[in-house]
């Protein structure tokens, strides 16, 4: 965070246009309410205009149609990509082991390591592993027999990738996650649970990112698949034989039971869940904490337990909230009917 830019330089970096003094010096990034005179901040909706009025930020990234600001502004066509570039301008380069292979790494002679590796201390790479070029493999990572890894992958410390898995290019796995561990499969016979062998592996396609302490199990047969560009957060469970489509998002603590399938561009909110064998279409949004227990067609937004059309679930929740009033109405009505009955008896 010791970098320094002028507002003009930052505008070039984020692809925006300066309005006001381009010579102001910026040294960091902060929230609109906490930014000081040497910080850049951003506001992406008019409704935060109030917060910006009292902000002491040195400059602010705003959409091109945003109103006046008290400090120099950088007008951006799309605010999100520009903010990402702003953060990138102040980010340290990704930490990595020194180029080469650390002498304490244990690499099987049959493993093939591509050009320009950065392999840290105490890494273990088993027989017949193949690793592409320019991979960064941090300390304590284990890669099992026969696993194949593409170019430019980034494996953080203590990640375990078991035997027979495949990673595409630019796959990024955060610390202490486990890829290709045995699926949870037993058959019950003679009073005990007997293990079902898992012949298949796990495939993470290009540009997949996996959070910390997340598990993607290997498959009974065929492969567990995470499609290209899909991003998975921390502490997520992906069971055996799951097939996740491309460019999906699974937020923290989500769980997929065995053989779940999804299309592309799905979003699973935090701690949502899909029960075994459900098939989910393309562009489905599953709200946080929702439990998907049956197939979902393309494009639906679902929520609740069991997950159903989000609007329907909101109506149902509202009705549950109205229960006390319902009980009251019923009670009153019983009283009125009793009175009617009394007057009818008196009045035959």
């Amino acid at each position: 965070m010791s970098r320094t830019y002028t507002v003009g330089q930052l505008a070039d970096i984020v692809g925006g246009k300066v309005r006001g003094d381009a010579a102001i010096v910026i040294q960091g990034v902060a929230d609109v309410s906490e930014a000081g005179p040497t910080d850049a901040t951003w506001v992406n909706r008019e409704k935060y205009a109030d917060k910006l009025k009292s902000s002491r930020a040195g400059t602010v990234l705003i959409p091109t149609d945003f109103g006046e600001t008290r400090m120099p502004a950088i007008l951006c066509e799309k605010i999100e990509p520009s903010v990402a570039k702003l953060l990138g301008a102040f980010a340290s380069p990704v930490s990595r082991p020194e180029t080469g292979i650390h002498p304490s790494a244990v690499i099987h002679p049959s493993a093939r390591i591509g050009a320009n590796p950065s392999i840290g201390p105490h890494v273990v790479i088993d027989a017949d592993v193949s690793i592409g070029s320019s991979c960064v493999i941090h300390a304590g990572v284990f890669i099992g027999r026969g696993t194949m890894i593409g170019d430019d992958c980034l494996l953080w410390p203590n990640v375990v990738i078991r035997d027979g898995c495949r990673l595409g290019h630019r796959v990024n796995i955060h610390p202490n996650s486990v890829i290709g561990s045995d699926g949870f499969g037993y058959y019950f016979d003679q009073g005990r649970h007997n293990k079902i062998p898992h012949v298949g592996g796990a495939i993470l396609e290009d540009d997949v990112e996996i959070g910390a302490c997340t598990c993607v199990d290997r498959s009974k047969f065929g492969h567990t698949v995470v499609g290209a560009g899909t991003k998975i957060d921390n502490l997520v469970q992906v069971a055996h034989n799951v097939r996740i489509g491309r460019h999906c998002v699974l937020v923290g603590q989500t769980g997929f039971a065995g053989s779940v399938r999804t299309g592309d561009y799905c979003v699973f909110g935090g701690r949502s869940c899909a029960l075994d064998n459900v098939a989910i279409g393309d562009r489905v949004t599953v709200a946080g904490l929702a439990i998907v227990d049956k197939d979902i067609p393309d494009g639906l937004m679902v929520s609740g337990f069991p997950a159903r059309d989000h609007r329907e679930e909101l109506r149902e929740r509202a009705l549950v909230r109205r229960l006390p009033k319902l009980v009251e109405q019923l009670k009153e009505l019983i009283h009125r009917v009793e009175q009617l009955e009394a007057s009818t008896h008196h009045n035959p």
Copy 2:
């Protein structure tokens, strides 16, 4: 997966009988709808007969009472054990470090290691640890002071077993799991939470299997116990002083709070939960996502939050679904009562 068998050889392996051409060559296993002419598949219920009709599989494992099939079949008395054997026929042998002790492993001179060990790189075994014969201990595993481990155990990379724990024979622990970490216990005094020492350890009895990134905490006193033959999936929390019976199953993301006790042959569905101190009988089935907040007698199937008899919970959920209709009925009834009241007033 480069192995090759004839249908006749596979029938011998899985303990079934061939119907049709026993000479067909099989090279793999696949799902009924994806299998090709060199794949074996299986169908375990008549209702999948349709799928099998269009399958291109080279052979199919079926129950003995299953009807005609278009490809050679292997008739099996019990389909599940036979399928497990089929998968086993194509499974690679379990990956393991070379026999012996890797020179980078750090083993305390007071530790006792049984015959025929396979101890991988960077393993750490502390003072007074005792390990049985034929154990496979993968890279990066840590075993704390005084822990005792039986024969034929399999510890995957980066597993941590802290001091004072006990594992029986044939215990299998998947990567990055933690056994015997401190229980979560504090007492509040003088404005802060003060740690309660945990004197006890954790015991995993014979044939226990523990998934990846799962935690079994040590005990305040006595021991946390996982009974023989019990299988625990990934990302499961087993808190201090819990005692799980024999041959239970805990599916992914399940959580047991402190001092929970279960009988034998219980099943806990995915992400189910038992609150502290509840006592659960034998052969109890807890549905996925159910929250057990009180004792459950033997043999019950429970679901919901709080968990209760599954049939009762289904009725309740159905009623919630009928709420809109209920509101409608009540509204209509109010109208009818109003009319009655009006006519009674007009008609005294």
Copy 3:
């Protein structure tokens, strides 16, 4: 557990007063119903008096106002601190690597290590790391570039702390947890999710304790903060930019989404959850499994999904339980109205 004390010695240790024979010899600690003649136990409420009547314990810790007991008793002003001291008297000293730095540890020459370290095998400490005095760092721990750690910290095996983080004094992190991993942030552009750099780190203040397999993500900017004295259990997710106050408790499997803020002295029950950006006051208690989806003022106890005042939620749950009766009442009332209508028609 091979230590031996007289009841009199234990009374001194736990700060209580002996009633009865102070010479009895005690060798362990056990539950009131399992304790034998050489075990100490405790009872903290009159309602357990019955269990104590049949207990074979050698001595019992009781509150000063507790009644007669059949065995020598130790009367304690506050039972919980005394029980913690009792357990401490039988606890083994915390297991730790030998004093000094194990030769297999890989420590960057620019790292500064304080006095009296215990650094175990295969530890990796990156450039510009600073570590205070008397820290215990177990096998396989990774500490990333520029991270600063105070005095008397305890890092269990295979913990990963990434670059640019800060730990106060006496911080205790259990095995396989991850501090400072990337937050889960992307912007969607041109058909794919693009990573947002995370410039900030994570700060764990003095006396923070973190369970096993727990994740505290780094921040987009500024820092993710866990306040002094806060205790976090296993398998907990703390997302980017979260700020947790001082002396809070987060029980197992809890999840905090991005930018959640809490005051001091809050308690989050097991598997509770706070959605992104909610602000929670001081001394708030969130029941286990509750989902906080909006701001909560100081001092409230909330439960349910969405979390609301606990008493309100209990009433609502009770009403749902009464639904079958409600349906019955409505049905009966419809019948009565029909009869009234019939008699009114007959009786114009």
